[in-house]
């Protein structure tokens, strides 16, 4: 009876591992490329997972595709191009920089820059306002001093 919980845990742990199958590589460089690629390709069925994380059928097929292409000696770029030609730029978590994805890459910097410009404009405006106020105060003080002096002379 004692072994039952252990047995249950054992069965459950097998299911966790079953998500991503093991692929055997002879060349460690290819294995490295495989890891990089499956971490970068999006599983289009479960869109917020990479094909490395997903145990969807499509992810499994795409891992097989990547594996076979690497074993055939194709380069990482060739595999990326192959995937983009079929599934579009969305398949990459790190999309290539081109006309279509340009906005995606540039927009954050544009927003950052416009933020800096805004800060600069506001701070400059504040400064001139302060200056104006100071000048106004000085004027009033002078007028007061003058009126006091005028009074004293009488």
């Amino acid at each position: 009876m004692k072994s039952l919980p252990i047995l249950i845990l054992l069965v459950l742990s097998f299911q966790c591992v079953a998500g991503v199958e093991y692929k055997k590589f002879d060349d460690p460089e290819k294995e490295q490329a495989y890891r990089v690629l499956i971490e970068e390709l999006r599983c289009l069925v479960c869109q917020n997972q990479t094909i490395a994380d997903s145990n969807a059928d499509l992810a499994k097929d795409l891992r097989r595709q990547v594996y076979e292409m690497l074993e055939k000696g194709q380069s990482q770029d060739e595999i990326v191009d192959f995937m983009i030609a079929r599934y579009g730029d969305f398949v990459m978590y790190n999309p290539q920089f081109k006309a279509k994805t340009g906005v995606l890459w540039i927009a954050p910097f544009v927003f950052l820059l416009s933020g800096f410009i805004l800060v600069w404009i506001i701070s400059r405006r504040k400064k001139t306002e302060n200056n104006m106020e100071a000048k106004e105060q000085q004027k009033q003080k002078r007028a007061k001093i003058k009126s006091l002096l005028d009074q004293g002379e009488q």
Partner: protein
């Protein structure tokens, strides 16, 4: 005055962007294959596995490629639409039986009717990858030159047939 109008304009712009984001369907991923040659295939026919159908067999024709599987419940939902469409006799429909068991697929067709000129078997999903299939059912419209002209992801409703597919088929048939 400007002090009140600027935040208001910014707020409205934000609302418009967020509303656009909400109304977009994240499942609708634009296919890079539109207006590109349909990928080549040569796959065994479901009813007669000793024979194959390849893309060349469909040359000079406007045709539909419908990706389906017996395990796909949405396919069941759109099936009557294709049964209806095929009765109009204006376009051949080829079924791409995607990652399915032949016996299950055959049983499915026997039960629900067979609108397909033939169904070809892509048991390992390789042709599926070539066509960028990620959510069955998917339907492709392929023109006389063998170019993919349109892709519909998900269930085809009769409304889609009337508003999109039929006009498109008519237009493509008129092309030389």
């Amino acid at each position: 005055m400007l002090k009140f109008i600027t935040p208001l304009i910014l707020f409205i712009a934000m609302v418009i962007f967020l509303a656009m984001g909400l109304s977009l369907n994240p499942r609708d991923i634009p296919s890079p294959l539109i207006n590109k040659p349909a990928p080549e295939f040569s796959l065994p026919i479901l009813a007669t596995p000793e024979k194959v159908l390849s893309k060349a067999d469909m040359a000079e024709k406007v045709w539909l490629l419908n990706v389906w599987a017996s395990w796909c419940s949405s396919c069941r939902a759109e099936h009557p639409v294709f049964n209806e469409l095929v009765k109009m006799n204006i376009v051949p429909i080829i079924g791409l039986n995607y990652k399915d068991e032949p016996w299950a697929a055959q049983k499915w067709l026997n039960q629900l009717g067979n609108p397909y000129q033939v169904s070809i078997m892509d048991r390992e999903g390789r042709t599926g990858i070539d066509y960028g299939v990620y959510a069955v059912p998917e339907t492709f419209v392929i023109d006389k030159k063998g170019l993919i002209r349109y892709k519909h992801t998900g269930v085809v409703k009769w409304n889609d047939v009337q508003q999109t597919l039929l006009p498109m088929i008519k237009q493509l048939n008129a092309e030389i």
